[in-house]
Symmetry: C2
Subunit: 211 residues, 2 copies
């Protein structure tokens, strides 16, 4: 039994109810931890569900930073250092990852607060999450302000990727469900992934095949 909500019904919703409702609409979201560090070597870690693929060549990724809801420290740090890491959230990390969304004061690193370990590699200024097994680093390319709600669309180029090759298929695809990568629905529901199938490249006059 389908119900239609118009703008009028959306406007009547209680603010928190509406936030949960609208946050679920885009569909399943990626669950990632963003690692940054400031010039004084204070690390920061925050949960983000808005990473989006922009292109493979150059390898660009975007994410939405909401100044009012995600700690501003992430944005300040990546603007200052031009460097951040993205670390996939898996089942063993999910409670610590979710806990990073608490509003810690600037002098407390979320790494310490939630019990995760900053890891540094040559050529990357920002810290990875040592406990994460699929992660990558980006350098700042551009920041597009979204004037309608004060969020920022941050664009980075991928410079380093760390992963276990056992999740890598022969054709370059990663088996995210084997790596234990989770998804997030709305603000607070975490989901595991199960592969249905892969489908062949679509052409107008050809039947699809499961591959």
């Amino acid at each position: 039994m389908s119900t239609i909500y118009t703008s009028r019904e959306l406007d009547k919703m209680d603010k928190r109810y509406r936030a949960k409702f609208i946050n679920c609409l885009s569909g399943i979201k990626s669950a990632n931890l963003v690692g940054t560090i400031d010039e004084n070597e204070k690390t920061n870690l925050s949960m983000i569900s808005s990473c989006v693929h922009l292109g493979a060549s150059p390898s660009l990724m975007g994410m939405v930073i909401r100044p009012r809801s995600v700690p501003r420290h992430t944005f300040d740090n990546l603007k200052e250092t031009k460097s951040w890491t993205i670390n996939h959230v898996t089942e063993g990390l999910v409670k610590q990852a979710h806990q990073t969304s608490a509003r810690y004061p600037k002098e407390i690193s979320e790494f310490d607060a939630v019990g995760l370990t900053p890891e540094f590699i040559p050529g990357v200024f920002a810290p990875f999450v040592k406990e994460a097994s699929l992660k990558f680093a980006l350098k700042l390319v551009d920041i597009l302000p979204i004037k309608q709600n004060g969020t920022e669309f941050v664009i980075g180029e991928i410079t380093h990727v760390c992963l276990d090759e056992k999740w890598l298929d022969e054709d370059g695809s990663l088996r995210l469900e084997k790596a234990g990568t989770l998804g997030v629905s709305g603000l607070d529901e975490y989901v595991t992934l199960e592969s249905l199938y892969r489908l062949s490249y679509a052409k107008p006059d050809k039947d699809l095949e499961e591959i």
Copy 2:
């Protein structure tokens, strides 16, 4: 056993291998069908995996349109009519949804080509997918060109939402896994979702609870 790929290794990858590899890195992506129509009432339907939540008040959503890989018709239509719909892909729709990514000429509607039904409701110019059970309409708010790779970040405001209330929790959250919403990994792998748990709102000095 973890391997590190630097920009140098990424640059050496074969183009198709690299496209599959980089497309998997952001994590799980939402699987949606975008419905549009032109001023001559020719409908268009295309698969998109880059929908991203931008904010709940106003209710804004973004998506990345890649002129070279997604049919340009979607972009042309939404620019012309300021209207589009987003329809969640479920297991019963996935092959038809994937098939819309084939390069059909402008005179063929993907609705007809793949066997899905355009559905119109009062107040929304663009067609919904009748067979989809969780869907919403947007009006154009802004288009931000991403100059680094020629993609466009299209921002819309949600004006209408159609869903079955049995998927709606008391607090406004939607149970996407009950609605059968799928995710997509990389370019061609579809995944089903299974709820792990919901976690309580994180505060610095409070333990998280499964809710």
